[in-house]
Amino acid sequence: MWTFFHKLGSPPWLYAIAGTILRWLVPITLIALVAGMIWGLLFTPPDFRQGDSYRIIYIHVPAAVVALAGYYVMAIAGAISLIWRMKMADVVMRAAAPVGAALTFIALLTGAIWGKPTWGTWWVWDARITSMLILLFLYLGVVALYESFDNKEAAGKACAVLSLVGMVNIPIVYKSVDWWYSLHQPASIKFTGESTIDPSMLYPLLLMIAAFYALFTCCLLMNIRAELLQRESRTQWVKKIASEKGAD
């Protein structure tokens, strides 16, 4: 167990293992995304109340779910880098932020497009939507804050603190549809009790959620690899990789 943690702190090992995982995970992710989209667009029945516009659910919900899960990854990595000064945790935090921001943006954008035919408006200042917008700003804040520091160690600390403070927003996003009267519908999938969604719509949705988790992991690992190369560019292992690439 300890050797695992020891290895996790080793940049060349992390770089190599991420590369091995990506060789498998990228094709799997792309297949799952394409399959899930085709399933959702072509092979599911329309919603009896919303008609065909509900098909946006197959990207809206997975993007939102994974955007929230990604925030945990970023904040936990931030906490680890603050407490144990683990450099790799700092790399993970920085790698997660732009991916989370993009997924939150997808959730907001598809939500707005879905809102127009369903609610008659692109945007409402509703609790769920506003708290998701705050989530987007938190992600973008971490990206921008990191860039604004010349001292990258101080940048890492500031970003870790910001992402931890931002954790307050996460339960608000989850609970917003229950706490406030809202246009946004409550969760259709429940771990406890019966889901309020038909299996013919549930299975492609679950596939898309899995695909978005895989997508997040792919992007996270790819960002980690690029970040590692940049940070460690003066070290022997990076020079070796670069010279092998250059020889090709």
């Binding site: 065909d52 516009s53 993007a63 943006f105 497009i113 690029a226 560019s233 670069a242």
Partner: protein, 67 residues
Amino acid sequence: MYFDSLQGLLMMNGHGMYVWSAYLAAIAIIMTLLVVPMRRRARLLQQLAREANGSEDKTVGNARVEQ
């Protein structure tokens, strides 16, 4: 398949514009997410390889000067 014609699939009973624009935008963002780190890594490796070659040349040059 639920739709019986390509027309029906594109129109989606009047919701086509919303559904397709949402999917296309999502696909574009997903592609960007995947391509940006790939290009960043490739660019870094290229740059490092060039620097490595450059410094080798310099040492050769210095060695000559020392002779």
